[in-house]
Symmetry: C2
Subunit: 202 residues, 2 copies
Amino acid sequence: MTVPPGRRERKKAATRQKIADTALRLFLEHGYEAVGIRDVAAEADVAVTTVFSHFAAKEALVFEQDADFEQRLTQAVTGRAPDEPLIPALRHEIQALVRHCTGDGAAPIWRMIDESPALREYEGAMRLRHAESLATAIAADLGLPPATTACRTIAMFVIDAFSLAREAADPEAAVDEIFSMIEAAWEVTRAEASGARGSSGR
Amino acid sequence: MTVPPGRRERKKAATRQKIADTALRLFLEHGYEAVGIRDVAAEADVAVTTVFSHFAAKEALVFEQDADFEQRLTQAVTGRAPDEPLIPALRHEIQALVRHCTGDGAAPIWRMIDESPALREYEGAMRLRHAESLATAIAADLGLPPATTACRTIAMFVIDAFSLAREAADPEAAVDEIFSMIEAAWEVTRAEASGARGSSGR
DNA sequence: ACCGTAGCACTAACCGTTAGTTCTTCGAAA
DNA sequence: TTTCGAAGAACTAACGGTTAGTGCTACGGT
């Protein structure tokens, strides 16, 4: 499964990576808005249409790891130890993600994102997607209908926690602070569920 | 202040309104993406550049009342009765806003928004702006530094409440449910604040 | 060795958006 | 009232992201 899956797919992946690397380098060198798609394509030695066959939009070149992020969150829910409660598992994962994003390597990228309106807008849309899929994972894990308000609410709060902590002066402390708030919010839904149906959350 | 503020400004406002009305009508008739800025300009009998002198982007034609929304939220904080607690005041305002958005008149517009990726993206960016200014208002009201994590967190949660409730099967019940969670989250920050400094929230 | 297809290049355009400039019209000072 | 400054709006022309439409090429299975 992890062994050579054919030359074709390797070449495709290599092209994609080359485009992403080239784009990020140019963006950091000259600024996001100053670099055009045509510049990226020329520097990576591919056609403009090839860029768009690998990435849905210019902004997606920056948020290349979008899918990873989403999957790590849902994995934190569905793949946690059987006796581990939901919220702490999410807190732990968000803590790790925040640490990664505020590290020396990723910091210049996020500074660029914060400075570009187009990138901030794109991030806002991503947040909604991530919250959606996290809500689905949570609802499935709890055996609830997928559109339950409480699940969608907690999911959004968790996504908020990432964005807020990332920008805070002390990111790790912020994660803890926000998650203590989320924990309290979650307790309320458990109380209401047990009051209404005699069952409880985890 | 409410008397005729000059013919010039009335004409300008009329032009703006005509553009917004024309755009919304065309969007609802033919679909958001099927209608171009040039179509809107032609139908409203103005130049394309005039459209952009009144609205920053195509999406802004749909979210015309953006500024109203933001101001109502901050007003709910800064203009509430002296003895009214913060969270219930916000709950009341969000309740009113949700009721307005799910009414018969506004429903088709929000359906259009939900179906268009571009509009959802724009809304995501708006949410961040609204959360920012709400956080500033809350922090000012409580006499805290403007970037306090707890304030920014509560502000985001409140904005989330609007989006979540708007899409829920029973919007009004959803507002109550989510705000009971927010209330609990807020209690936590009061406890931590009084534990650390002997002071308390409202 | 052979063929189907996936990946990529190229052209040409569409659409949102902006800069630069000119024309018109309103508001207020003289 | 006359005049002048300024603001709104028009027009042109372009830039940058994005998308068909169309072949060509090289890989992978038969």
